[in-house]
């Protein structure tokens, strides 16, 4: 039985080049032992490549990989105490489910391989299909087999490459809860790759948002959501309303005054990066209020669309300068509006965040409602 003295996973300046194309730019990351870490980013941003380097399936062009104090950069995949749940499952078609699961244990000469494999199958609630072939299972069941096959080895680090990608929404939610439970039960370090921001936020302790081979921002879900540091993160994690503004001066009460399209607005000083004048002022849709109860920041515009989503209603409000802001109101009886009405929207100074205006306001936005 491999011990759990493991330690943190450290990527030190790791990079990957495919001929002229840089899939992963030098990357520094520390994943604390026992944590649930999510790598989030759009398709093709280098998530799988990063995982494959950790697994030993891809040789990094530069940098080192360490688990605890052990440098594993130059070891082969089979020598690393790291297991992967592959994007394509990669279950062995010629073996039964239980033989798939016990494969890793048997390679390491574990005497109790079969018993442990059965236990792992129980854990993912597939005990009764142990003798079947993978091809006889549904996609969701295969995914759970792939998970059991990796977890059973109790690796130092478990890499999950979009393990829930093939599932429908309902099963996906169940599996997310299940994964989280398993992770806390067995206490392994999970690195979970996904391009579903909701999945990353509900599951992970820490999220690294990747874009074009770089980590844009790293932090816990709440920090990333409340204080994105780039328009990409602001748009990729949830929705954001971005207003072009210039900083006037930093006065009193810890707020900064800014002007956006002729309106004076306030943002908390510590939400504004130091030394920039031109900014994007961002506010999350659910922080905006219809009416003027939300705070000192006020804008008015015309409602162009109302969509009822159950717990909330989403409004599109067109500003005089043409941009549409998204407002999400809880259906708790507070301010309602109808399409065509002119409304005031308001928010508090602490709910805004400022980003350097040199960035593209729509970066990362195209994927925002990719997954319902």
């Amino acid at each position: 039985m491999a011990g759990h003295e493991s330690g943190d996973l450290r990527l030190a300046g790791i990079s990957k080049q495919f001929e002229a194309f840089t899939a992963v730019h030098p990357l520094d990351l520390t994943v604390p032992a026992g944590s649930f870490f999510a790598l989030l980013g759009p398709s093709g941003c280098g998530k799988t490549t990063t995982l494959r380097m950790v697994a030993g399936l891809e040789e990094p062009t530069g940098g080192r990989i360490l688990i605890g104090d052990k440098d594993i950069t130059d070891t082969r995949a089979y020598q690393r105490n790291v297991n992967t749940v592959f994007q394509s499952y990669a279950l062995f078609p010629h073996m039964s489910v239980v033989d798939n699961v016990s494969f890793g244990l048997k390679r390491r000469g574990d005497k109790n391989a079969d018993r442990k494999a059965k236990e792992a199958l129980e854990l993912v609630q597939l005990g009764e299909v142990a003798r079947k072939r993978p091809s006889q299972l549904s996609g969701g069941m295969q995914q759970r087999v792939a998970l059991a096959r990796a977890i059973v080895n109790r690796p130092d680090v478990l890499l999950l490459d979009e393990p829930l990608g093939a599932l429908d929404l309902k099963l996906r939610r169940q599996m997310q809860i299940e994964l989280k439970r398993i992770q806390s039960e067995v206490g392994l370090t999970f690195i979970h790759v996904t391009h579903d921001q909701e999945e990353a936020m509900t599951m992970a302790d820490t999220i690294a948002v990747m874009n074009s081979g770089r980590v844009e921002q790293l932090g816990d879900p709440a920090t990333l959501y409340e204080h994105p540091r780039s328009t990409f993160v602001a748009n990729f994690l949830g929705q954001s309303n971005l207003l072009r503004a210039t900083v006037d001066r930093g006065e009193g009460n810890g707020v900064v005054e800014v002007t956006s399209h002729g309106h004076r607005l306030e943002v908390r000083r510590d939400h504004v990066p130091a030394g920039v004048r031109d900014i994007w002022l961002g506010v999350r849709p659910e922080k905006l209020r219809l009416g003027d109860s939300g705070g000192p920041n006020r804008l008015s515009g015309q409602v162009t669309d109302v969509s009822f989503t159950g717990v909330a209603t989403q409004y599109l409000v067109r500003m005089p300068w043409g941009r549409e802001l998204v407002v999400v109101q809880q259906n708790d009886g507070s301010g309602r509006a109808r399409a065509g009405e002119t409304v005031t929207i308001s928010w508090a100074a602490e709910h805004g965040f400022a980003l350097d205006a040199s960035q593209d306001a729509d970066a990362g936005a195209q994927l925002e409602d990719d997954h319902g």
Binding site: A55, G56, L57, R76, A77, Y78, V82, N83, T84, F86, S88, A90, L91, F92, P93, H94, M95, F103, G104, R107, R108, Q125, E128, V129, Q136, L137, S138, G140, M141, R149, A150, N153, L171, Q174, M175, I177, E178, R181
Partner: protein, 313 residues
């Protein structure tokens, strides 16, 4: 977490039986497949079933070419055939098996390389594998005669490096020549049927999903173990097809032993050839053909059954 239970998606009964149970009427009425099968069946009847019956009846005739043969039901000819030629029969099986093993040893790495590593050279290499078929079987065998002949550089090189001594020690040759030996015959058989080994191997290795091998590596299998537990079992269909396609024709071959062998390397095909065309003892030749056929079918059946019990996909 009973909610994660998803047994409703689990196929309890094999999909095939449910499928045929729901649409039996429509299936039975569909005659197109049988119509399409008809020409092939006819072909088989004319060129396989009829000759087999003729051969069987011929083996039970008695007489001579001059006086003509009459059917007497003389089963004794089989006893005669076996007692006279059991040695050549056993030898044929032995040579064919050796050639098959050698072809597998040479063919597998080659097929693996072409299928998995050759990249854009794949098609050229495949053409090279079948290139020998552009010349006739006989000419190729004659060419091998030249290559292995006494004055040739291969024989000279073998002699100077004492490979001939080694072959002699292994009783593969009888003197310091390469030609006219067991060695030459088995070499010839191996060479002749190598493409029949490589092509099916290539077909199954080509389909092999590299990600499965990666997964094996990820699960602590060294390259050798990954080969043993993943690559090899997944290529077994190709191995079975290739060994059959090599073994069956090799066991009945008569050209190689005739052109490359000596009197101690006579194979059964050569005997049948002689009995049919020179001695003109048709019943004995027919009986030998039948014995060979039954022997091969039996061996193949045993082999396929054994291979089938392993983890075939």
């Amino acid at each position: 977490m009973a909610s994660v239970h998803a047994p409703q998606v689990e196929p309890q009964a094999p999909a095939l039986s449910t499928g045929s149970a729901t649409t039996p009427a429509r299936r039975r009425r569909n005659v197109v497949p049988y119509v399409l099968l008809l020409p092939g069946m006819l072909w088989l009847v004319v060129f396989f079933v009829v000759p087999m019956i003729t051969l069987a009846s011929q083996s039970l005739q008695e007489g001579s070419v001059d006086q003509g043969y009459v059917f007497t039901g003389n089963v004794g000819v089989y006893g005669e055939a076996l007692s006279q030629y059991w040695e050549q029969l056993v030898r044929s099986i032995g040579y064919a098996a050796s050639a098959t093993v050698l072809a597998l040893l040479f063919g597998y790495p080659l097929a693996y390389f072409i299928a998995q590593k050759a990249g854009r050279w794949k098609n050229i290499l495949l053409v090279l594998v079948i290139a020998p078929f552009f010349t006739s079987f006989l000419i190729r065998t004659l060419a091998r005669q030249t290559i292995l002949s006494d004055g040739g550089w291969v024989a000279t090189a073998a002699k100077t490096t004492h490979v001939t001594d080694l072959l002699q020690l292994l009783r593969l040759t009888e003197n310091d020549r390469l030609m006219a030996s067991k060695f030459a015959v088995i070499c010839g058989l191996t060479y002749n049927f190598l493409p029949f080994m490589i092509l099916p191997l290539y077909a199954s290795l080509e389909r092999l999903d590299g990600r499965l091998v990666e997964a094996a590596g990820d699960l602590y299998a060294s390259p050798r173990e990954a080969f043993r537990h993943v690559t090899w079992p997944l290529s077994l269909p190709g191995v079975v097809a290739g060994t059959l396609l090599t073994f069956i024709p090799a066991a009945g071959d008569f050209i190689n032993s005739k052109l490359l062998g000596n009197t101690n390397t006579v194979m059964i095909g050569q005997v049948i050839d002689a009995q049919f065309l020179r001695v003109l003892n048709y019943p004995l030749a027919a009986a030998l053909s039948f014995v060979l056929l039954v022997l091969i079918v039996t061996l193949v059946a045993v082999y396929v059954r054994r291979a089938g019990t392993e983890e075939l996909v």
